[in-house]
């Protein structure tokens, strides 16, 4: 792996995004609009908003980054640019790290926007530290990016890649504790939710919002999510082949 090639890839991906202002706008505005919608959905129940707000702060960046990166990587593969790149000295890890860094930077902006909006204008009340909650959200976005890069290897078309949202993200969304607390689910489902990375992402956000300071449980959540990022990127790199049939 070479820092120079990783950074060049990051710069290239960000330049591609810059030529596509509508995608940038969607990535940055959609989470804000959804959060606003949620705020007024629970207009009469501010406590409910305070309860699920932090969870969604973790989910929106995760989901958006997952979809965008899986399609971006798919395009790289189907346009022939990947085949050509893999005849150059670029390492597979350079490419994936470059992508992760580029979308990680976008996630940083996205999380900053939606967190500021939620805690400011929308009046989301949290007991914990804002910085810690934002950190959890950014790490979750990175996880979405890494999983998107990995899973795009299993799609041959944009149609298939987009289907990974209902196939892969929705089950995690149902089981992550957003709709029902995880400890009240059927045992089998609880075990299932224990091995889904999004559960830790959402738990982490809830804990970061719930109390000031870093508890042991929050640390576990963060470590699990952070550890999943290189694992997913490594698996993604393993799916790239210099030689194809």
């Amino acid at each position: 792996m070479s820092t120079r090639r990783v950074l060049a890839t990051t710069r290239r991906v960000l330049r591609q995004l810059r030529h596509d202002p509508r995608t940038i706008a969607l990535m940055l505005v959609v989470p804000c609009v959804l959060m606003t919608l949620l705020r007024f959905l629970y207009d009469g129940q501010p406590l409910v908003f305070d309860h699920i707000g932090p969870m969604l702060l973790a989910l929106f960046p995760f989901t958006v980054m997952f979809v965008v990166t899986s399609v971006a990587m798919l395009r790289e593969r189907t346009s022939g640019t990947l085949e050509r790149l893999l005849t150059t000295p670029v390492a597979k890890a350079d490419l994936l790290a470059g992508y992760a860094l580029a979308f990680g930077l976008v996630a940083l902006v996205q999380v900053a926007l939606v967190t500021t909006l939620s805690l400011g204008l929308l009046g989301l009340q949290i007991q914990g530290s804002v910085a810690l909650l934002a950190l959890v959200a950014v790490v979750d976005a990175l996880l979405g990016t890494a999983l998107g890069l990995f899973l795009s290897a299993f799609a041959n078309s944009e149609f298939q890649a987009v289907q990974f949202l209902p196939a892969f993200v929705l089950p995690q969304l149902l089981l992550c504790g957003l709709l029902a607390p995880r400890d009240q689910m059927a045992t089998a489902l609880r075990y299932l939710s224990d091995v889904m990375p999004m559960s830790y992402a959402v738990d982490g956000a809830t804990r970061a919002a719930g109390s000031a300071g870093v508890s042991g449980a929050l640390l576990v959540d963060l470590v699990v999510v952070c550890a999943c990022v290189p694992v997913a990127l490594g698996l993604g790199a393993a799916t790239l082949r210099r030689r194809t049939p």
């Binding site: 120079r4 090639r5 060049a8 890839t9 710069r11 290239r12 330049r15 591609q16 030529h19 596509d20 346009s79 022939g80 640019t81 085949e83 050509r84 790149l85 893999l86 005849t87 150059t88 000295p89 670029v90 210099r242 030689r243 194809t244 049939p245």
Partner: protein, 250 residues
């Protein structure tokens, strides 16, 4: 014995590409059943044959992106696709493989960093393919011929010793085609080796040597003049036809 050995070594050095008993199967079909051929260094060699004859598969094997069943492909004395070759071989795919949502310059600047080429080389290759006026235009807005030239420019970054071009002149107007062939010969004169595939026989005359491929088999390895002489045909299209007919008769 020693003399034979060194003659063999010299031959190796003169050949930029050597393919021995290459077998490639794609989708259960042997696209290249057992192919052997060589490309001399410093030449413009044409790889000709109808579509579906295995040209692209051979090219992919030479640049090291094709899974092969058996056989040996060596490029500049190294096994095809080895790490040492990744800055030495320029590859132009059939469909332009550049980022259509970037400008010409942004595309090439990225590759320049990847290949550790100088930043100046970007402007140089842009002027080599005559795209200076379009340098800051987004590739998606360019014509098909211009896109093909961006793809060619990308392969020229870093001054590779071998350029492998898969049908680089398809769909280009005659003037542009003529300019590109002149460029290919200029590059060869500077010491590069070029392997250019085409299914248009009229382009064969611009090559110093021809490899004729049909159904994955090498039909001929000759200069254009040798080919005419051998078949008694004046134009190369006819020569190709007669070769096929004599091959089927034999």
């Amino acid at each position: 014995m020693t003399g034979q050995f060194s003659a063999c070594r010299i031959q190796r050095m003169l050949n930029c590409i050597e393919v021995e008993h290459l077998r490639v199967v794609r989708g259960g079909r042997p696209v290249l059943p057992d192919l052997s051929c060589a490309v001399a260094a410093g030449t413009v060699t044409g790889l000709l044959g109808p579509s579906g004859s295995g040209k692209t598969t051979l090219i992919r094997a030479i640049v090291g992106v094709q899974q092969v069943v058996s056989g040996r492909v060596s490029v500049l004395g190294e096994p095809a696709g080895s790490a040492a070759l990744r800055t030495q071989v320029g590859y132009v795919t059939q469909a332009p493989s550049v980022y259509s949502d970037l400008t010409v310059r942004e595309n090439l600047a990225y590759l320049a960093v990847i290949l550790a080429a100088s930043p100046e080389s970007v402007s140089e290759v842009i002027s080599t393919v005559a795209l200076t006026d379009q340098a800051d235009a987004q590739v998606s807005r360019l014509s098909g011929g211009q896109k093909a030239r961006v793809s060619l420019a990308a392969a020229l970054i870093g001054g590779p010793r071998l350029l492998v071009l898969d049908e680089p002149t398809v769909g280009l107007d005659p003037v542009l085609r003529e300019e590109l062939w002149s460029l290919f010969h200029r590059l060869a004169a500077q010491g590069a080796t070029l392997l250019v595939s085409s299914h248009v026989m009229e382009e064969a005359d611009r090559c110093q040597r021809l490899l004729l491929l049909r159904e994955g088999r090498l039909l001929a390895d000759a200069t254009p003049d040798e080919l005419r002489e051998r078949t008694g045909a004046d134009d190369l299209d006819q020569a190709f036809l007669r070769l096929i007919q004599s091959g089927e008769a034999a």
